[in-house]
Symmetry: C2
Subunit: 654 residues, 2 copies
């Protein structure tokens, strides 16, 4: 039963499972044979040269496979994916098998040179790069067409034969990580390097950003507290707070780039070369010639995509925005109604009722955001983008615009149409706090509870048939395959983005927002950590060098907040009292200050270098070395040619 | 006398002089011998392997040398500098000697495969990369210290032994170029590709930008004329003009990036790899270890430089700015005086007198700009920047800030402090036209006249001793070495930058500015062409892929012009009449429009791709090919290792 197809199996007695492949139940024998053969086959035959072992389940079905790889294979894979590791001289270099001895902690018998997350990333990369050779279709499934160069795994996924591929947890490592991450109650930094080793760079970078952002908010929160406690309403204090806020938000975003560079340099991803991007798995089209690769692959006309974007998606987004504004107007009606009710029959209950519309609206906003999210995903997927990055960018743009309007439109309306600062403060507080509570609940606690209930049930079922010695692995795989899938850091960043909006857009009206943000983020770190360790399947590590488009989103938000804060300050009665004779002077002054602040912001962003000096020097040194190596290569070739030619010329002359 | 040190001389009967080296008169024989030996010496011995011939002058002095190179040497040099040429399949690739047959127009006997400008660039690169080996000083000059790796040519230049290095003109080619460039009166494009072949990419790109900018101004000029002719003063027409202007200026700057990409792709510089930047020749410091290269070379503490920048240069620039404002105030006194005089004794003469202050001020501005330019160069050089690029950036920043204030401060003062639109229009016109006339005169006509006078004298002198057959070459070298040196495109771009300011900052007040700019630029093209071909020494070609920091400068100017134009429109009586009741509404509307325009500007700049789609595809294809090649290389290495290892493992098992 426990048959294995690995050709190297004899030499690898301690097979270490890295990745789980779950195929659909009842997949044809022929397909199973072909697929596993391709996985273990030699590189020279177009295989992945990995190790495969079927998982023995209680039902006896052979639809779950464990994939591993020999140590040597992993090292070679690390070279293929271009991993960057630390050398003995503390510099970071792209790993190559031939130069393996120069790397720190490398030893032929040290199987921990590559972290488990890196090994899993390598296995995933090798599996995804299993490409069809002369197969016209997947054996056993004539409708699942293949063409030369098509990724087999992607085709298996899209045709439903392959249910999922996911990396296994390492229970011991996970326990250690949990301990140091959120096990003890302690004040201090997160173990980012360990998170990176376990979950990869993308997730570690998110937690790094979350932590950094929380620390960066603390000064704002500290300065904000006395405004609340002493009820400072002097204009000069507000102006000071807002100015500090604006410059601070610029500084923290610039400094983040530097910190991010330091971290990703240490992790090696800052130096990793970009891999050529393959079409995303959902992409479809008629077979044609890709102008870049010259390969036969599905092509989809860019004009058709533009038509879908501008004639369907754009109107749909506008409609949603309109609907969101419509809901907002209903909220204001409700608010008015609650106010009237409160005035008519003043009581404790009616006082409480004043908050109800805001809370309802906050809940509705969250629901709308979530529904819209699905619509946006569907639409963007229907737009049929060829590359995952282009898909992501269009999705993020759609979601950001809607969420921004949905969350902040009512606040803008209250501030700049109703001019009601009291209501603004109240709405802001209600929206911020409600959305934070909802998020924490929906994101972590609910899945955690569901997961726990499910786990109990599964455990009971499994423990009833203790027959195999390997049970704990079977148990683990069965538990993990039922866990939810973590769909990336999108939602987490979005939450932070909206929070940043609440904190910075109207900061001078409600300085306490930063305090709530800090409190939320501290629990957020714990609940997100819980979510990663307990609720979801382990995600594949994904190397990344920065937070990408989110940097731009945060920077845009901080520019918008300069405008809103200047307007708010200009509208405050204290500032108005300074210009009793002429409103014009007031507005001109405010406009001047706003332009100055924006100019200072841009100059600061320009002047602060994105990378610290020592990282710059290290990068320059690497570039210099590679240029020197190239030059040396060219020179030696030149010398050869010149030597040959002078011999030639001498011959000719003789 | 006409002794030659070239070791390949026998095989190169038709020595083609490319570059002229002028050494100081009375340079020691020992130094001459050593230097020429190094130039002709084999690569293997650390030489440049070029050809050298002394120029026989009337005085018999051997202080001028002609440098050439064999065809083969040039091809290898082209590989070293990383030239990109067109292949037979119309793609652009980095030239390598081994793949030479795949390049378009390549034939072993086709000596025109590389343009003369390219050959000269290669020779210059090879000369500059002649590095000291074990020499401790320049032989014969113990005070001219050398250390291993120091560029010999740079040390010779800084110690005054080497007077100059310049490329020779090709009289026939130049004649052809002149003919097609400005020889006949014709309407049409400049022969940019020919200019590029003769003068290199930097200069061709300047002329390309000048031409593009002139064409781009034509729509503005055409729309501007009726405003002048019909004296349109309706606010709606002004608003239309200004709005068109602002969006137009954004579009032209974005489109320029695309056109620039198309041109530089065709020229190959878009793909050229950046070379490692050596310290600039003026850089000095104590010997230390460069942290990037690990080589011994002069180092200069960054803190010392910062101190010089912030404690000396910055205050000096501020002082200059203050002085410039002070001069402006004197101008306004003069203006007032002229007005008073005109009112007292009204006559034709007094009417003319009204223009005198503006003209004097325009002349003073030009003089101040030029004096400041020298001061800025001195200061930036004293700041002791290590890299030429850093030196250039600091210089450009200094000069731009001062020139901006110097040229536009009076206009800002008139517009936003005096609110005198009539005076603004008059000042703008006077400043623009005067500065254009002055520039054309100082830049081209004056040097041309000086050069012509000098040439006549030299010709007379030379023709008095017709002894050598080689005279025409001697004559040419003697003529060219006395010509002025072209110091790069800085002043030309600066002129365009200020012109762009005159046209866009106050465009809605004086729509005719664009007309004058177009007229000026048409003559500018001719006078600049004249300058390049007739007045200056031929400059070395310099590969470049874009106009660099000037793109940013122009974009900043177009952002500032959004602000000024919105303010001007808001101040116009027609717009004021629209809001009779409330100045506040007016200002708020103007501010709103301004922010909208700025937002549209940034979105447009973001949405318009910097490179046309076909260039993007071509670049992606090249990147894909190099990644594939790398992967292939890695794979074949992997296969070897895996094959070896299975043998190994099999052995172990036996």
């Amino acid at each position: 039963m426990a048959e294995s197809w690995s050709f190297l199996d004899a030499f690898e007695p301690n097979f270490r499972p890295l990745v789980v492949i779950e195929l659909a139940k009842g997949t044809k024998e022929e397909t199973l044979k072909w697929f596993t053969k391709r996985i273990v086959d030699k590189k020279a035959n177009g295989g992945a040269q990995l190790l495969v072992k079927p998982l023995v389940t209680e039902s006896g079905d052979e639809n779950i496979y464990l994939v591993g790889a020999s140590h040597l294979r992993l090292l070679l894979g690390a070279e293929t994916v271009g991993l960057v590791k630390e050398c003995n001289d503390n510099s970071m270099r792209t790993f190559t098998y031939s130069s393996r001895k120069t790397f720190k902690d490398f030893a032929d018998d040290n199987h921990n040179f590559l972290t488990m997350a890196e090994c899993q990333y390598i296995v995933k990369h090798e599996l995804e790069n299993l490409r069809a050779k002369d197969e016209k279709m997947i054996p056993g499934y004539p409708q699942a067409k293949l063409y030369p160069g098509k990724s087999i795994v992607r085709r298996l996924l899209t045709s439903g034969i392959l249910v999922q591929i996911f990396p296994l947890h390492d229970r011991e490592e996970l326990k250690k990580l949990r301990q140091s991450w959120y096990g003890r109650v302690k004040v201090g930094y997160q173990p980012l390097d360990e998170i990176r080793c376990y979950f990869g760079e993308t997730i570690a970078l998110y937690f790094g950003f979350l932590e950094y952002f929380t620390f960066a908010l603390i000064p704002m929160a500290v300065i904000g507290i006395p405004y609340y406690v002493f009820a400072w309403e002097d204009y000069d204090k507000y102006v000071m707070f807002a100015t500090f806020n604006l410059l601070w938000s610029t500084v923290i975003l610039e400094v983040w780039k530097r910190i991010c560079a330091i971290m990703t340099y240490r992790w090696g991803t800052l130096l990793m070369k970009r891999q050529f991007e393959e079409p995303r798995s959902g992409f479809h089209g008629v077979l044609g010639i890709n102008p870049v690769t010259g390969r036969e692959e599905p092509v989809y006309s860019s004009i058709k995509r533009q038509i879908r974007i501008y004639l369907v998606s754009l109107p749909f987004v506008c409609l949603c925005l309109y609907f969101s504004l419509y809901v907002m107007m209903i909220y204001f009606d409700l608010e008015q109604w609650a106010l009237d009710y409160h005035e008519e029959n003043e009581s404790n209950f009616s006082n409480l009722m004043l908050f109800v519309p805001s809370i309802i609206y906050a809940v509705v906003i969250e629901i709308m955001n979530r529904i819209y999210r699905y619509a946006a995903e569907f639409l963007t997927s229907w737009e049929n983008h060829r590359l995952e990055s282009s898909y992501q960018n269009h999705l993020i743009l759609k979601v950001l615009v809607f969420n921004f309007l949905n969350c902040f439109a009512s606040l803008f309306y209250i501030a700049f149409v109703l001019f009601d600062m009291k209501l603004l403060r109240q709405s802001l507080a209600t929206l911020l706090i409600t959305s934070q509570i909802l998020n924490q609940f929906a994101e972590s606690l609910l899945p955690y509870w569901l997961q726990k209930r499910h786990k109990k049930r599964t455990k009971k079922r499994i423990s009833s048939l203790k027959t195999d010695t390997d049970l704990s692995l079977v148990e683990q795989v069965n538990l993990e395959k039922e866990m939810g899938t973590y769909f990336g850091t999108f939602d987490d960043y979005l939450e932070l983005f909206l929070q940043f909006g609440y904190v910075s857009l109207f900061s001078c009206v409600y300085p306490l927002a930063a305090v709530f943000a800090v409190l939320n983020n501290i629990t957020e770190i714990y609940s997100d950590a819980l979510k990663m360790c307990r609720v979801y399947k382990r995600p594949f590590a994904e190397p990344t060098a920065n937070i990408g488009v989110w940097q731009l989103a945060f920077e845009t938000m901080s520019v918008i907040s300069v405008v809103t804060n200047c307007m708010l300050i200009g509208m405050s009665p204290q500032v108005n009292a300074l210009f009793p004779d002429s409103k014009m002077d007031l507005i001109l002054t405010v406009a001047l200050v706003e332009h100055l602040l924006l100019a200072i912001k841009f100059i600061m962003a320009f002047v602060i270098p994105d990378k610290p000096r020592d990282i710059q020097i290290k990068l320059a040194r690497l570039e210099f070395e590679s240029l020197e190596a190239l030059k040396q290569q060219k020179w030696s070739r030149e010398l050869e040619v010149l030597a040959d030619s002078s011999v030639l010329l001498t011959h000719q002359c003789m």
